[in-house]
């Protein structure tokens, strides 16, 4: 990336000084530049090639507990001046109408730079090379699909994001960060049955993701799994004991707990965990962590979008709610240290309290022990998507793959199915935590119209009872 790091600070810092002179309560200025490319391979052709480049400023100003925010595309001083004027006008103009006044935690100024560029530069591997790896991965998936695959799509994307944050507390932080993501989706048909399998890998790093990809765990896996799905039967409906494979237990951590631990949800009354800090909210074998410092994980980053260094957050330890995910405002309101969770999708979005990499810590149970004692249950693998209504604590996790458990043994394979639960009930009903661990669920988490990269994981988990959205 060729952006002049000092040059951008030279543009944004005078705006921060201007804010100070205007006597505002707090202000920060962000600049974000992003450049990236992607490849779409479909049905044995490199069909579409994409490139995008964006840059922009935002100014956020707090006056009398009232926030004003303005952003523009492009690194243009005149536009930034306009953003400042607008943000100040908006903050002042709405102050009369604000009942729940904002303030921010006072922190020591952070003046650091961090470069998280991965092992291989994104420009060091040619587009031709990236394309040929995608085509080869697709070929391997098709081979594994034994002629049953009717559509195959392999994607790869990488991008570099630079971010400058300066605020009225003296923070001046710069970071550059590379992320790469690849996916393989195959659709197979047998008679009237049509099924698809989706595999994704992603990391905070460069194209070494593609160079080091193990096809057995990616494209070949997708091809084999989709064949298995064609042979699977529909899941039964009703309440069952459920075992989560590590490829979906992270989704449970993210949906059932993570969103409820975002401190802005807690402050506004939207979290089912409101008023439960320090209380037992899960069985005592459950510990859940959100950690933005896991090396190379998709949700990792050195600073949040408010310039606060990120760290590990112990949300639940041994069943007890210990820590929330804070931005500067919620840290002030809860009177705790900020822990670097104020993330924004881009320069045009305000930072919200967000997760990074969220996971259950491993326990001590072996998988075979978990199966014992289940007369009729469901084993879920390969999480796909989920969501939660935090205020009611009702969530859903969708699995690509499932299997019956009968008389303590794994039984018939089942088609993709969702399970649903009430958070406090489900977390208390976790009665086994496995001694294994996997975190490969790179994705984009949505909240308030913004998407940010996250990952999640965990060990095998057993839940005594959940509702399974089966078809029969």
């Amino acid at each position: 990336m060729t952006t002049d790091v000092k040059g951008i600070f030279d543009i944004i810092c005078p705006i921060v000084e201007r804010a100070k002179r205007r006597g505002v309560q707090f202000a920060d200025v962000r600049a974000v530049a992003r450049r990236g490319g992607s490849i779409l391979v479909q049905d044995r052709r490199a069909e579409k090639m994409f490139y995008s480049k964006s840059a922009g400023f935002s100014v956020r100003i707090l006056v009398d507990g009232s926030w004003g925010f303005a952003s523009c595309d492009g690194f243009d001083r005149r536009l930034l001046d306009d953003c400042f004027d607008q943000a100040l006008l908006l903050a002042k103009g709405s102050a009369q109408a604000v009942d729940d006044r904002a303030w921010v935690a006072l922190i020591e100024p952070v003046q650091q730079e961090a470069r998280c560029l991965g092992k291989v530069d994104i420009d060091e591997v040619s587009l031709e090379k990236k394309q040929s790896i995608c085509l080869e991965q697709e070929r391997l998936a098709l081979d594994a699909g034994e002629g049953m695959i009717v559509n195959s799509v392999v994607t790869y994307s990488d991008s570099i994001r630079e971010q400058w944050v300066a605020n009225t507390m003296g923070t001046q932080v710069y970071s550059s960060l590379v992320r790469a993501h690849t996916s393989c989706q195959v659709t197979a048909v047998k008679g009237d049955i049509r099924q698809r399998n989706y595999q994704a890998r992603g990391h905070q790093g460069g194209p070494e993701l593609l160079l080091e990809l193990d096809p057995e765990q990616f494209s070949i896996k997708a091809g084999k799994k989709v064949l298995q799905q064609l042979r699977s039967r529909k899941a039964p409906a009703g309440e069952f004991p459920v075992i989560f494979h590590p490829t979906i237990s992270g989704l449970l951590a993210h949906e059932a707990l993570g969103h409820n631990a975002e401190a802005d949800s807690m402050w506004t009354g939207h979290s089912i965990l409101q008023g439960k800090m320090g209380e037992q909210v899960a069985s005592d074998i459950v510990s859940i962590v959100d950690d933005a410092t896991v090396p190379g994980s998709f949700g990792s980053e050195p600073f949040d979008s408010e310039g606060v260094p990120t760290r590990r957050r112990d949300i639940i330890r041994n069943g007890v709610l210990r820590e929330l995910l804070h931005n500067l405002e919620t840290a002030a309101k809860f009177d705790v240290e900020p822990n670097g969770c104020g993330r924004a999708q881009d320069h045009a979005s305000v930072p919200l309290c967000r997760m990074s990499n969220t996971f259950f810590l491993p326990g001590s149970s072996k998988f075979d022990e978990m199966l014992k004692g289940i007369d009729r249950g469901i084993y879920l693998r390969e999480g796909y998507e989920g969501y939660v209504y935090t205020e009611r604590g009702q969530f859903l996790c969708h699995a690509h793959e499932a299997q019956m458990i009968e008389n303590g043994q794994l039984g018939e394979p089942l088609r993709d199915v969702s399970v649903s639960g009430l958070i406090l009930e489900t977390l208390m009903n976790i009665d086994r935590v496995g001694d294994d661990f996997v975190m490969i669920f790179p994705g984009t988490c949505g909240k308030g119209g913004q998407g940010v990269p996250t990952d999640c994981g965990g060990p095998h988990l057993r839940v005594r009872r959940m509702v399974v959205g089966g078809q029969q």
Partner: protein, 458 residues
């Protein structure tokens, strides 16, 4: 409250989108010089003002100015696409060259024929209301504040969140086949989510109002309505695991209709990853089901004379009396299938639907519910079918139990499972009354024999 400097420039472009045309034309000319077989390019700007409400208070007042140039190039049928948040001539040249270089790297595609040719639209729907540009932050704050007050008048301790959004955009599209289009649009949106808490007993509900024209927009009443509904969702209970009748209120019903239109995507069908692949002219639903797509309705939320490729939009009958009658095409899929382009292309090569029209039935929604002895009414949320497999497995998040024709109590932790086409075939009633949003009528649907999961096993 607006500063006048930059606003003046942007406002002029929002009123006169043809001012953006030279930038798109420049991108096309640059790409042609660099070796593009076919190219189209857009230049666009937008301004969005939003007021966010949290904890029944104004949270943030935001103004976002955006701009973008995009260049799509085909070389031997392979596609290269470059976009950037820039409007400067030097950068446009760079983007065009990048798009050509990428298209050269893509694999040639013998199925690609050409980009759309210029064509006179059947109708040009109104999408731009100058009155919307006159709405300032003071107005938006006032609407938000009035809604907070009206919600509190229903229930003093309601926890209200949501936003008011006012946006305007302008864009121009030029192509190597001679298309030159400039268009602008406006929208006003208001949505609220109410939470009522009495200890562990929680009820919540959400709703919205959207319009392109101020005269179609009602900024009052939404917050009070969602608060009333949130109150009714307290004391939720689990249902029994059983097969039963499911009545979909207007919003979930429109979601299901949207899934049908999503599966009628010609690209997914040609790739054989749609549940509707190989089903054209076959029965995919109840005879009560008739659906068409009309992107030409004046003031419609999803209206426009042209699609994202500059092709003119056409009205398409998707389902006719339960028979899958027509797919939605872009230029690539239409040329590949050797059928007329319906004008549903997206900028990056996909296919998307616009305003869906649903054939109405004879009875009111109240009558549809009244005829159900034991069933479930889904008011908000959707069935979320997998458009590849047709499998349905999801939560009924905002649903009521129906007993003897009456809504009796809200449900918790209750799911639905099934097969998409089987459910469409099991639709046994469409209401005559409907929820209206500009360009869209949303009736109520009733489906029999639906598998519900909750307490116990069947």
């Amino acid at each position: 409250m607006m500063s006048e400097k930059r606003e003046g420039d942007i406002e002029m472009q929002l009123h006169q989108p043809e001012r953006l045309l030279p930038l798109a034309e420049q991108a096309v000319a640059s790409a042609k010089r660099a070796g593009a077989d076919f190219v189209d390019a857009t230049a666009s700007i937008s301004r969005e003002l939003s007021i966010t409400v949290e904890k029944s208070s104004i949270k943030t007042a935001e103004l976002v100015w955006s701009r973008q140039v995009s260049v799509r190039v085909y070389v031997a049928g392979g596609m290269g696409y470059a976009s950037g948040s820039i409007l400067d001539p030097g950068d446009i040249e760079d983007l065009s060259q990048k798009a050509v270089a990428l298209a050269r790297l893509a694999t040639p595609d013998p199925d690609f024929v050409a980009l759309p040719e210029p064509q006179q639209p059947q109708r040009v729907p109104d999408t731009f209301d100058p009155q919307v540009l006159l709405i300032g932050p003071d107005d938006a704050i006032r609407w938000a504040t009035q809604n907070i007050q009206s919600a509190r008048s229903v229930y003093r301790d309601v926890i209200l969140s949501g936003d008011v959004g006012i946006s305007a955009s302008a864009g121009a599209l030029a192509s190597s086949s001679g298309i030159r289009i400039a268009r602008n649009s406006t929208s006003v949106d208001l949505g609220f989510f109410a939470v009522i808490k009495n200890g562990a007993n929680v009820g919540s509900f959400a709703d919205h109002d959207s319009a392109r024209f101020m005269s179609d927009f009602d900024p009052d009443g939404i917050a009070a309505k969602v608060t009333q509904r949130a109150l009714s969702y307290q004391n939720a209970r689990k249902a029994k695991t059983q097969k039963t009748t499911l009545v979909l209120g207007p919003l979930p019903a429109y979601g299901l209709i949207g899934a049908i239109a999503g599966a009628a995507n010609a690209e997914s069908m040609q790739r054989r990853r749609s549940i509707f692949a190989d089903r054209l002219n076959t029965v995919i639903g109840s005879t009560l089901l008739t659906i068409s797509d009309d992107g030409l309705i004046s003031r419609g939320l999803h209206s426009g004379a042209h699609d994202g490729e500059g092709a003119v939009r056409n009205v398409v009958k998707i389902v006719d009396g339960g028979r899958f009658a027509g797919a939605l095409h872009n230029s690539y899929t239409a040329n590949k299938a050797k059928v007329p382009n319906t004008g549903h292309g997206l900028r990056t090569g996909g296919v998307g639907y616009t305003n869906l029209q649903i054939g109405l039935g004879e009875k009111t929604a109240r009558e549809l519910i009244g005829e159900v002895d034991d069933g479930i009414y889904l008011e908000l949320g959707g069935l979320d079918p997998d458009l590849v497999s047709g499998d349905i497995s999801t939560n009924l998040d905002f649903a009521f139990k129906i007993e003897k024709g009456e809504l009796t109590y809200p449900l918790a932790n209750t799911m639905v499972g099934g097969d998409f086409i089987e459910m469409l075939k099991n639709i046994d009633a469409v209401s005559v009354d409907y929820r209206y949003e500009p360009g869209i009528h949303m009736p109520t649907l009733r489906i029999r024999d639906v598998q519900i999961s909750s307490e116990g096993q069947p």
